[in-house]
Symmetry: C2
Subunit: 379 residues, 2 copies
């Protein structure tokens, strides 16, 4: 097991009818900015519940954080934070809204003039405004970690800061019932691949981490079909919500190597061709397993046996089972399925080079020639 530090100060409030707890969690004198997306929180009444729980406070709203939240959009919210002397920022939404909310908070409290410094990792922030989240879409784990991914130009940039842990996050599985099936499929894949990025590497004797990672994968497999086809099945949905948080709150990834290659390549594909994040993961993970079968052999075989009950150690069979799982959620696993052509591979590779993301994998040895192979395998 590798040496590690683990610290996750976010408080989780989980369960039915928990939005009302905002009244206890947010100071009575707070000037609150509610950050949300394109209106579904309005349509389905979540925003009303939030505002009703916050009654008595000065409430401001910022509507319009898009999927893959954009720098320019978020900077408009930063203006409101400053102009209105906001003392509490509340993100109400899925990963994009929560990531955006974290960025708004950091940018509003960064003293440098050029806020794009945050995208380059060249900044210092000493304190931020209190911040909480109300989750509406289980997928990214952003509700219980300090990371965000922000889109700017043709790139997606990770922004991670110790001050970006929400003080609290409210997770009410029932408010996710109205989500379209496609978003649930994407969320299941995103959660699943968050686990594999912290697990399908090389063995370092992280026996308990492995077992817990496998536990989340097994839980996701157990409930996937049910929660997709019967969205109001509370048991299945609540397990999806909690699993997706556990998948990326740090607990399974400490003390073991991590390989975020599938995410990084996926981000470029989203930025270039507009595929959903989950769609890109379902395509890239099997290709990564295929090309990296030697380097990841021990862990792939263990995963096959413990998650898919494949005892042969046959890696092709294990990849097939993984694709089969993604397919069962209604997701395709080939780039060609989305009209992307083999000649597009170079574009993706070039963008990775331009964004200085051409040293991937748990050991940093995956450079452009191997990335090219992986992308070829994704056809």
């Amino acid at each position: 097991m590798l040496n590690f530090e683990f610290h996750n100060p976010t408080k989780i409030i989980f369960g039915k009818n928990t939005i009302k707890e905002l009244d206890r969690l947010v100071g009575k004198q707070a000037r609150v900015l509610i950050v949300y997306g394109k209106g579904s929180v309005k349509k389905y009444g979540t925003l009303d519940k939030v505002k009703s729980a916050l009654k008595g406070r000065d409430i401001f709203e910022f509507e319009g954080v898009e999927p893959n939240p954009r720098y320019e959009t978020l900077m408009k919210a930063v203006e409101i934070v400053k102009k209105k002397n906001i003392t509490f920022i509340l993100g109400v939404g899925g990963g994009s809204v929560m990531d955006g909310t974290k960025f708004v908070n950091l940018a509003a409290n960064y003293k440098g003039e050029d806020k794009t410094d945050l995208l380059k990792g060249e900044y210092e922030v000493e304190s931020v405004i209190d911040m909480g989240m109300v989750l509406t879409l289980p997928a990214t784990g952003s509700e219980m970690n300090c990371g965000a991914v922000i889109s700017y130009g043709d790139g997606k940039f990770p922004v991670k800061h110790n001050l970006s842990y929400p003080i609290f996050s409210i997770l009410d599985p029932e408010i996710t019932y109205t989500l379209p099936k496609k978003q649930i499929s994407n969320g299941i894949v995103d959660s699943f691949v968050h686990v594999t990025e912290q697990y399908l590497t090389y063995p370092v004797g992280g026996i308990v981490q492995d077992r817990m990672a496998e536990g989340i994968l097994l839980a996701l497999k157990d409930i996937a079909d049910k929660t997709l086809n019967n969205p109001t099945d509370y048991e299945a949905r609540s397990n999806l919500v909690w699993s997706s948080t556990l998948a990326l709150n740090g607990i399974i990834g400490k003390g073991v190597p991590q390989d975020w290659m599938t995410h990084v390549i996926g981000h470029e594909i989203t930025a270039l061709y507009g595929l959903d994040h989950g769609q890109t993961l379902a395509i890239i993970l099997p290709a990564v397993m295929d090309i990296r079968r030697k380097e990841k052999r021990e862990k792939i075989v263990q995963y096959g046996e413990r998650v898919f009950d494949i005892k042969t150690g046959n890696i092709d069979e294990i990849i097939k089972a993984t694709r089969g799982f993604f397919n069962s959620l209604g997701l395709k696993t080939k780039l060609g399925d989305y009209g992307i052509k083999e000649e597009d591979i170079e574009k993706i590779c070039n963008n990775l080079i331009r964004h200085k993301r051409d040293n991937l994998s748990e050991t940093g040895d995956v450079t452009t020639p191997i990335i090219r192979e992986i992308l070829k395998k994704a056809f």
Copy 2:
């Protein structure tokens, strides 16, 4: 899944040579009280390492926290905290020292005159002194939770407070290499039973909690023999240390029922007959499974299948496997093995009544007649 709140602010620093991090973690101006046990931290050099890392601070020591730490002992440390204007309390030891350290901190900051109020749960404390831990014995999980068990008179009293989470805990598996085999056996059983207390109840659809709980049990089973017989095997020992923390840091027990019956009955046996805590658990858990086979049926069968690969659903077989695991660690599983007689059952029952602990189990329906049956089964 049940509604829940989860919040665990303790920072974990895990791995080889991590004691030196104290220099970064404890303020340079701090007046530090180091709390420890009966000298093994002196004998094996841990205390020297701690003091060397804290060089430059004003350091005070309190030696002599006993196993099952006693109120009277701890009150002597409370005096030092007050007299010496201590600003940081550092526990260096196992569960007893860490529990004791938490109590010292609460008692020193409780304004009421009679500090036994803390044992009755009748107290308010608004703030405490900064507190950290250096773990020397993996077992209780006290390094990453807010609970303590304090002995007073002939009873053991749980003392739990939100302010009792250590700010940090340092977990260096290598400093546990010198522990006697018996303490490792006890630690494995304690960790194992921490998991079962949060798992062998009735099903509420906590699918991911179950999978993660099983993951810890499987990890403990995997490494038990190795870490007992080859204490310097870092892989096995590091997994024991991290598993024992994960077993009781809240993550597996949120959203599911809990039944601390095995611990509560065990505490009375320790208080009356001086058995080690782990020894009592190895005796009582199998008896609880036996007598509560109907109420816990679904979860026992699931545990049998997933942890011991018993597919028959035969509960006797599952209990036998559990006993077999404890025996393999060198622990006995019968009260008679320790010279306790059947006529002692009434003493144990009477003490439970006197301590108002005669409404046990996840549903509170286990009263004296059932406790008596459980104790009979433990012969």
